[in-house]
Symmetry: C2
Subunit: 164 residues, 2 copies
């Protein structure tokens, strides 16, 4: 019995995750999108992975720029999350940056000033799996807001979790 | 400035995630461990990924068995999570299955009877990244408990989130 795309999405909604804005900048220009498929891979070398649809503009830009920043969203970033998910009419990914305050750390990738944690990375490897690309990215700089409550996406709605 | 393993782990603790028990069975025998580095990849074909340390017994068993099940833990599974994390003295991964009620779906991999959602998968591809292996696994069967509250791991402690 094959699993339909709908059954896959319904089940995946039960696998909650942090909400992140993944950004990039460089020769291909600035771009960013909301993504929940992010996880740590190894601390040697410090590496995380990001999974993005190949139709996503940010996917193309990350491939050309070779850098990305994972900005883990804090509790008050639900509107920003919607902006970078393209839900509020910002089809042009570069325009989305008029929302939020953006800085830089080690790479050119935009860093959200009040992210719960930001991982500024250089892409080490990319693997194409079906409709998506999995980017393996080595972390060059980290910035933490230790007390920030964070945003979670679970069962198709936002939840908030306080810091310990 | 290189990121130390400690700095990596401190920052990754701020990237919360669902808590899962990843299991396998087959020619290499039954094995299972707790893992948070799991995410959906693509619905075509329905695929998820699991990231496991290469020193983990379950990593070796999954490679030989070619199947795995991701059991997303419900709110009451915190002790089971600790058992499969090897925190309660069950060094032998096969012994851990005396805790919890286990069944089968499409593959040989053990399925937790009251998991919030279970993804029964066949391994399609494995990529070695530093100390870890990333398994890309195609989903052959899914079972959902739609009303189960789930367990999250964030800031080095458990949290619970209700279904919508």
């Amino acid at each position: 019995m094959a699993i339909s795309p709908e059954a896959f999405r319904t089940a995946m909604a039960r696998l909650g995750a942090a909400v992140n804005i993944v950004t990039t900048d460089g020769p291909a220009g600035r771009s960013g999108c909301t993504a929940s498929a992010v996880c740590g891979v190894t601390d040697l070398p410090p590496t995380l992975l990001v999974c993005l649809n190949r139709n996503n503009d940010s996917n193309v830009a990350i491939k050309r720029n070779g850098v990305l920043c994972v900005n883990v969203l804090a509790h008050h970033h639900d509107t920003l999350s919607s902006v970078f998910a393209g839900l509020l009419g910002h089809d042009d990914a570069a325009q989305r940056f008029s929302h939020g305050e953006w800085e830089r750390l080690a790479t050119m990738a935009p860093v959200l000033a009040d992210a719960a944690v930001a991982f500024d990375c250089r892409v080490a490897q990319a693997t194409e799996i079906g409709t998506h690309t999995v980017f393996f990215a080595e972390i060059e700089a980290i910035r933490i807001e230790p007390d920030a409550a964070v945003l979670f996406w679970f069962d198709r709605s936002y939840h908030r979790l306080p810091a310990a």
